[in-house]
Structures are given as C-alpha cells and as structure tokens.
Symmetry: C2
Subunit: 215 residues, 2 copies
C-alpha cells in the first residue's frame, strides 16, 4: 500500500517553518549559498534533529558536511506553505488592532497581501489607512467574488464576530484568520485559525510566577 500524499506533517513542524524561511532569506541577502540544520538550531535554540526533520518534510535534501542549498530550501518551504504565490486577503474591522495589521510590513515575506479593509464606521468608510481603502461590510458580497479573494482577517469586536463571519462565508471566503477570542461557527468547508494573545500571556504569566517565587 503506497500512500504518497498521506505523509501528514505535524502542526509543530508547520509552525516552525516560517522561522527557518526567515533565517534562510536573511542569509540569502548576505549572498550565502548553503546553510546547515545546525546553524538554524543554534540561532533558534532548538535541537538540530528537529530542524533536520522539519526541513526533510518540505522535500529538501542536504549534503553531509555542507548542508542545504539556500535557494532550494526557500523554494521548498514557500511551496509547502503556499507562500510562493501571494494570497490576497481582506481585513475586516479597522480598529486599533485591525489598523496595525493593515500597516504591518512583515506579511509580504509570508505571501500575504492585504488588499482592502472593511468596517461599519461611516467615518472610516471611503478613507485610506496605510494606503488601503476602507469599504462598508456589505461590499464584501460584491468584492469577494469579483476580486477572487479566499482569505479574510477578522479583527472586529467580539460581539460582532459571528455575524461578520456569517457574512464572510456567504460572500465566498474560504479561510478566516481570527484575531478575536471568539470560537467561530463555520461550515466544514471553511478553515479558520485563531490567534489568541491571551494564551501566550497565560504562558508568560505562569513562567513569571515561577521565577518570582524561585520555584
């Protein structure tokens, strides 16, 4: 029984890949041609065997003593993550957080291009924030199919989250990056990813308690 496409790759691996990609691009800037798993491991403070397995998942093959070809490695990681072709996305909810996301430069390196913002506030509609035009929410029904947008970034208040998500789904959005603390109800065909700051803060708080109490 051969299951070529069935070699599923774990979530921890997927979450580490962007860090390798970023370092590889840094090295490429400096005209380096190869990089070893050992190097990534040292910089990122993780075990080198983890790095090797992660990189192997993306299909890169290294040479003993030399390491991995940087250009090929970048290609493979980007391919694996679907970051070789830029994904256009809409951002919904242009409050503090939403505006910050609109203005964040770093996503370009992650294959993400935010093309416009959406909000309910009439004061914001029609203006541009960091060069991105802000539309009323209901314009989604027109623009999502017309611009062939698959991804939305959700940065509305918690109370509005589910209503907006229903509209996004209706409009034809396939993936939702959820910056609210709300668990969204969506059909099975829609993928969501929750970005939960309070989880990270919880981790840090527990660690801090421990060092403060010398445990």
């Amino acid at each position: 029984m051969v299951a070529v496409f069935d070699k599923t790759i774990g979530i921890p691996t997927i979450r580490r890949l962007p860090a390798y990609l970023r370092l590889a691009k840094d090295l490429q800037q400096k005209n380096e041609k190869t990089v070893s798993a050992t190097y990534f491991a040292e910089i990122l403070d993780i075990d080198s065997i983890v790095v090797r397995k992660d990189i192997a998942s993306t299909g890169s093959l290294g040479k003993p003593r030399i390491g991995f070809d940087i250009e090929e490695l970048i290609d493979n990681i980007e391919n694996f993550l679907g970051w070789n072709n830029t994904t256009d996305a809409f951002l919904v909810g242009v409050g503090n957080l939403g505006s910050a996301i609109l203005g964040y430069q770093g996503f370009t390196g992650n294959g993400l291009n935010i093309v416009a913002g959406f909000d309910v506030d009439p004061q914001k509609i029609g203006t541009k924030i960091y060069g991105k035009e802000i539309f009323p929410i209901d314009k989604l029904y027109d623009l999502v199919p017309r611009m062939n947008i698959n991804m939305a970034i959700l940065a509305v208040p918690s109370k509005a989250a589910q209503d907006v998500v229903d509209k996004l789904v209706d409009a034809g959005i396939r993936a939702i990056w959820n910056f609210t603390p709300v668990k969204l109800k969506t059909p099975d065909t829609i993928v969501t990813q929750k970005e939960d700051l309070s989880s990270g803060l919880a981790e840090l708080s527990v660690k801090l308690s421990k060092v403060l109490h010398h445990k």
Copy 2:
C-alpha cells in the same frame, strides 16, 4: 515519595485556561452560579474530558450532575495564572503594533496593566497614546526599579530587538513578551514568550491549500 508541588501542568492546558476564564466571566455576568465542563467543551469545540482535566489542574472540584461553582472556578484559574493580582508592564516600541497593544482593552481581564510606553522617536516622546505616556528608552533604568515593573512587551523593529532586550534586562525586567520574530538572547533568570504571527499564518495557509485543492 510525596511531591506536592511537582505536579507540573502542560503548556497546552495553560494555553486553554484563558478561554474557560473568559466564558466563566461571561456566565457570571448573566448571574449564572454553576457551569459544567460539557458546556465549555461544546462552546469551544474540544473534548469534555480535556476540559475536566484542565480545570482539575487549577484545583477546582465539581459536583456530579451540577458542575463547577463559577466564582470558585474563576478564582482558581486566575490564581493559577497569577491574574488575580494585576501585573504592571511597560511597552517598548510604539509603532503600529505597539500602539495597537497600548490601546487594546482586553488585557485588563487578563491581569495585565500597561502603564507606559517607550520609544526612540523624539516626536513620540512626551506625548500620550491612548492615555499612556511615552518615554525615551533610557528612562527604563530609572522607571523599572522605581515602579517595580517585572514585565515588558517588546514591539520594536527586528533590528533593534536584541539591543532593547539587553537594556530591559539591565534595567531589571524579569519577563518579556516578544512580538518580534527574533529569538532573543537572555540570561537564564529572564523568561520570554514569543508571539509569532507567522506561525499562525503558516497553519492557516496549509489548511487553505488543502481545501482549495480538495485534498
């Protein structure tokens, strides 16, 4: 051999606790007195046994058929996370993201109080953003010990991250919530928590690729 304090609790558990806390507080608002693990499980779409084990970790005891006392549950989770006493924090780097964090209301429910911002930009220094005064970075040496601050939130550009961290450590900061994609070098006594948006985006991108290609 009795190891009372040694019952270590896993990171996945710690990361789920804020969601229970949030729901419990919502119910308390509605004057509910008890809640079942089954309820949390349904809302959050996780297995009820996971919820029960997580809650047990915080020391709450439930009653069969009834569930958990909400007030006691909130107390226990907050205690466990160290969120019963508010932690004061400084925010360093008041760019787009830093400003958004300064203005974010939600951290109050997570025992976090951002008391001031710090930046290198002379235009920002002396101004207030969302009511928080902005100081020059070097004021950290004075204010961290004087105000007895343990936690810093790092939202500076990647290039500046390590330099700023060295200063934070010198000034006496014990915990750093790192919003840059840089792996920080710190002494063993300092705890750090990296908030990595690109990891979340990587997860979502892979999921999206799968649904788009009907895998």
